[in-house]
Amino acid sequence: MADKLIPTPSQTVGPFFSLGLDRPEWNDLTRGNPQGERIVIEGRVVDGDGAPVPDALIEMWQANAAGRYAHPDDRQTDKPLDPNFRGFGRCATDGEGRFRFTTVKPGPVPGRGNRLQAPHINVLLFSRGLLIHLHTRIYFEGEAANAADPLLSSIEDAKVRNTLVARREGGGQAGGPVRYRWDIVMQGDNETAFLEL
């Protein structure tokens, strides 16, 4: 421990990050035409006053439809890699704090002790006023595996737990991709559950 280097401290992205980080096409994770069910995730980021946050950036990382991450440390060789799915997305909020991703529904992935984790998307939130980014997750309403998910089932307060679950809003079949609604409340009574990782 003593001979380890101290990691570089985080600093805020500030209000001008779009200059370096805005990649409008990265909010569509289906650009390569991957396998799996198309979904849209829409939402809004609000601050402690409930005011929209127009200068936030959301990044997401997820497994493919089969539940495998495009990463060498995922050694689940029984599940296929999808050469057309990388699993990373990024979206800056607009003037009303809104964001929108198009992706495929991830499959379940193993957790610690070989407990199964329900399908989820890993999320980072950056903004002016955040000296260090926030971690959270998106789960999906109506997913049977949610009940036994190690993270969700560890949260006793249902109101807090539900901040991690995207609500199904429509679409599907002939109506296009299923649309999910998931908002981020940075502070206050309905504050999103953030993770210490």
């Binding site: 380890k4 990691p7 990463h71 260090i132």
Partner: protein
Amino acid sequence: MASDPLPYQRPRPGTQPPALYPDYASTQKRAPKRAPIRFEHTLSEMTGPSFDKGWGGPDSADLTRQHKGAPIGERMILQGRVLDEDGRPVAGTLVELWQCNAAGRYHHSVDQHDAPLDPNFTGAGQVVTNAAGEYRFLTVKPGAYPWRNSPNAWRPAHLHLAVFGPAFVTRLNTQMYFPGDPLLALDPIFQSTADAEARERLIAQYDPALSEPEWALGYRWDMVLRGRVATPLDPA
């Protein structure tokens, strides 16, 4: 049955900034109030996007040749390595950079500071680290600029850098500062990290060996990302 992957090291107290730091006024309505939920790392946290093979687009390491003419300002080279806590190079990871121009003005519609824009300077670049974890940019030194955090507040000259590393938990968004800047002592964003040794990580070193004669000043700056709790053993 796969064994559990080795987690990443958690930050030592004081070596990262807190969510709420009242001297930086914008944290007051944006810092969560509830304590975050501590969660042990799983495959989800220990994997992350890779940017080798050009997935993030072509490198753009020279910010002085993105327009017809040369930008105004002091040309500088920024070179360094991306390392983990054990000093091992992080190869093939994307480094994104953005900054204001030499007058202290960002090429961004939100920036209304009364300083000139430079038609020959956008202030954004990116590069993927090589096998030794090295990156290098050529740019101009950014200016200091005022902000409305408190009366007569000025941000010290800085570059914004973002890097991914091997996992979702190694993601780093930070700022690089210049040695000897008198504004550092007054800047709440720089000061938000309590540990003085950790803060030093944010300051580049002037390196005459990196300077190019008759051309540009050289600054050296390594970024250190979280490492594993212990050296992982290859699975049998």
